[in-house]
């Protein structure tokens, strides 16, 4: 196929073809992840490397479908992939601990910083087959209900609630609801057909996936129920084929770009999405009372115990991993105490 850059030598920018990197992700082409993050990062890399590295984005799963992106990067279908850890259940046992319901992440800064620190500290075996670029979190996901307000535990019993992935589906089961696991792209139809009474996801999806048209008259804040982590990883051979100076530039540029843009991103787009939804029609945002909150968290607790057992069965120190994750979460919750800051006052 195409000539890759020869490792070791440092060619002059003028007389070499730039290294082209294919980036696969599943967000719509209009989503801020494409228009702000990927475009901005690609531009920063191109500038920092004097045009020696060119990143081409393939949005909306046109190169690789969402659940196949990680493995697609390992096999070189894409050079870089951005997707969600939770779409391949069991593939990332350690990192999935961060997604367990019952662990609170106040906002997207907390979940992003916690994940980055956790991955550094735990250095999980499961992602050693790629070059990990960064991980960010969406922070809280909330219950967006169509017509039924959820104010207490009893209200959610027997309802069908959409979820995009396993961990929060387990939480929903414990709460007495019936989880319906569907990829985000299929939610609009499922909600408009009445297959789901609502869904648990970040409120930005009301705008980004047009869900505000079919759900979200009542929004119950459930930061303990939902956390989503997104990875950005690169094919290992591709990474190793880059010259050391390019590797260094990419590492430094990425670190800077990440710190400036990603950790608080979801709070920002959640705020934008919620405002958009409220402009369409009135929405009631429900905050659970303290006692109610405690009841929900207690109901969810068995999911964590099961998960520790699962980790142990995989030969991993379950207790220790869960403890580390909770400690890191608390550390950053103290540092960024705003719960669901996108709701405002």
């Amino acid at each position: 196929g195409k000539p890759a850059a020869t490792p070791g030598e440092t060619p002059k920018p003028a007389d070499t073809k730039p290294v082209e990197l294919r980036l696969a992700h599943f967000f719509p082409a209009t989503h801020p992840v494409e228009t702000e993050i990927i475009t901005g990062w690609a531009k920063a890399i191109a500038e920092a490397t004097d045009g020696r590295v060119k990143i081409t984005s393939y949005p909306a799963g046109t190169l690789v479908p969402a659940a196949e992106i990680y493995e697609g990067v390992v096999q070189g279908v894409a050079d870089i992939g951005i997707s969600v850890y939770a779409y391949t259940r069991g593939r990332f046992p350690v990192i999935e601990t961060f997604l367990l319901p019952g662990i609170n992440f106040n906002n997207s800064k907390v979940s992003s910083f916690a994940a980055m620190e956790g991955i550094k500290k735990l250095n999980p075996q499961e992602i050693q087959d790629v070059k990990h670029l960064w991980t960010w979190g969406s922070g809280p996901g909330d219950l967006m209900m169509k017509t039924t307000p959820v104010r207490k535990l009893e209200d959610i019993r027997g309802l069908e609630i959409g979820a995009t992935a396993g961990p929060r589906a387990d939480g929903l089961k414990m709460l007495g609801a019936t989880p319906v696991i569907l990829p985000m792209g299929e939610w609009y139809e499922a909600l408009s057909r009445g297959i789901m009474h609502g869904g648990v996801a970040p409120v930005e999806t009301m705008q980004g996936f047009r869900l505000g048209e079919v759900t979200g008259d009542y929004i119950t804040l459930t930061p303990f129920l939902y956390n989503q982590l997104f990875f950005s990883v690169m094919n290992l051979d591709k990474w190793n084929s880059l010259s050391p100076d390019i590797q260094k530039i990419i590492t430094e540029t990425t670190e800077k770009f990440y710190a400036e843009n990603l950790p608080g991103l979801w709070d920002k787009i959640n705020e934008r999405g919620l405002k958009w939804a409220k402009d369409q029609k009135p929405r009631e945002v429900i905050t659970l009372s303290k006692e109610e909150n405690a009841r929900w968290i207690e109901a969810i607790q068995p999911v964590q115990n099961d998960y520790v057992e699962f980790l142990n069965s995989r030969g991993l120190p379950g207790e220790e991993i869960l403890k580390t994750v909770k400690e890191i979460a608390e550390k950053y919750n103290k540092q960024y105490p705003d719960v669901a800051p996108y709701v405002g006052k």
């Binding site: 609009y188 009445g194 047009r210």
Partner: protein
């Protein structure tokens, strides 16, 4: 060789394989695999080869196909299709082409709620084609009318393509749904008009019933013997889908079970017929999903060849009158719609075309969405790759492919007329959403 050139070679290579009688699904997969391994790498191509087959076969949104095809074949083998069409023949049979027109309406209603053009074609086709043949309709009219009608449902809401367009362009999906209603009805009427015109010129294509017109009593009698019950089952399945009780897959499952139940009670189902319905179902479904998987692999190659991007970029840079640019864009979709699955094509090109059409040329975004879907409806019946035509070929195995494609022309012309009308009178699309949603 640049990826772009490799893409062009791939398309030519695919056409050669078609001529050499290679099964179309395999041909698409081979070219997609080879091209992808050339542009990216062999290891990467190995990966898409395996994962695309598994993920396509195990897709929930495609699971609607086996269920509705099963319903269609149950109805056919239990003789319910015969009853249905003898009823339709009593009502519409006294003028030429009447049954084909009735099939158009059946397609529009069924497709409207089902939303999948392949499932509609397979379901209605499995009932309608053998019956029309029985009443001496020509093979080309019997098959082509259903192949074309199968795509009516993607214009009439709900429609997956509108959801994808709405998310990709940040337009209201509810508005898009409303905008599709009148053009969908218009296209149905135009298809019926096309049937009227060709059967008027050559009545042998769809001969009218001879003898006196049956009275209301005779028509009512034809409803007996299980037909009324089956119509109720259809109403529950389709109505439940429309009311939001079922997903499309569930509506198909409920419909199939209902038809089975009615035919068992009526005594028109026996072991042999049951078995034959199942056999026809697995054969048809394997054919359709294998084809879809092949098209997806081919589409991956087209994506990395960057042909859609480069072409879109080129068209956007032209300095020509707006309607000419629009015309070129539609031709691009029609051309590539003959090789690539429409959904990936829309995802790949809309981000480039949309700003040009809406921001630069100033066309209405909702209207453009309707136009795109209309072009999709044409793409599924145009040669060389018209998936609806292949599906109907799978149902009507005795009809040669070229006969079906020959019958497509009147419908294609009708669709082009519809497109021209929409360009001349954009209100056909924008009137309803503006009325209802201000």
């Amino acid at each position: 060789m640049s990826p772009f050139l490799a893409g062009i070679c791939g398309i030519i290579f695919f056409l050669i394989l078609l001529v050499l009688k290679m099964p179309i699904a395999v041909g698409m997969a081979i070219v997609g695999f080879t091209g992808f391994s050339y542009v990216v790498s062999l290891g990467a191509a190995y990966r898409i080869l395996s994962s695309d087959f598994y993920t396509t076969f195990s897709s929930y949104s495609l699971s609607v196909i086996p269920m509705f095809v099963l319903m269609g074949f149950f109805a056919f083998h239990a003789g319910i299709g015969t009853k249905l069409y003898s009823f339709a023949y009593k009502v519409f049979g006294h003028f030429a082409g009447g049954l084909a027109m009735a099939s158009e309406v059946a397609c529009a209603i069924f497709g409207a709620v089902c939303g999948s053009s392949t499932a509609t074609t397979a379901t209605i086709g499995s009932i309608a084609v053998p019956e029309m043949q029985k009443y001496n309709y020509s093979n080309s009219l019997a098959t082509a009318s259903v192949a074309a009608g199968g795509a009516l449902g993607i214009l009439i809401p709900p429609s997956v393509i509108f959801v994808i367009y709405g998310v990709a362009t940040e337009q209201s999906i509810a508005r898009l749904f409303l905008a599709g209603v009148l053009p969908g009805i218009l296209l149905t009427l135009l298809y019926m008009a096309a049937i009227w015109v060709i059967t008027r010129r050559n009545p042998a294509l769809g001969p009218a019933a001879s003898g006196p017109r049956p009275g209301p009593r005779e028509i009512f009698v034809a409803l007996r013997g299980g037909l009324l019950e089956v119509l109720i089952v259809f109403a529950i399945s389709i109505g439940g889908l429309f009311a939001g009780w079922f997903t499309p897959t569930e509506a198909g499952g409920v419909g199939a079970a209902g038809v089975l139940l009615v035919s068992l009670v009526e005594g028109s189902m026996n072991w042999e017929r049951f078995n034959r319905a199942l056999m026809d179902t697995t054969r048809t479904v394997a054919m359709i999903l294998f084809l879809v998987a092949g098209a997806i692999i081919f589409g991956r190659f087209m994506a990395v060849s960057r042909i859609p991007f480069e072409l879109a970029g080129w068209v956007s840079s032209l300095s020509l009158p707006p309607f000419i640019i629009l015309g070129i864009i539609l031709l691009v979709y029609l051309f590539f719609g003959t090789f690539i699955e429409m959904i990936p094509l829309i995802l790949l090109t809309i981000p480039i075309f949309y700003p040009v059409v809406v921001n630069t040329l100033g066309y209405d975004p909702i209207w453009f969405g309707v136009i795109i879907v209309l072009v999709v409806a044409m793409g599924v019946i145009t040669p060389p790759v018209g998936i609806n035509v292949y599906v109907i070929k799978g149902v009507a195995r005795d009809v040669p492919l070229e006969v079906i494609f020959r019958g497509i022309w009147p419908f294609l012309i009708a669709a082009i007329v519809c497109c021209v009308l929409l360009i001349a009178f954009p209100q056909i699309a924008t009137f309803l959403p503006n009325l209802v949603m201000r």
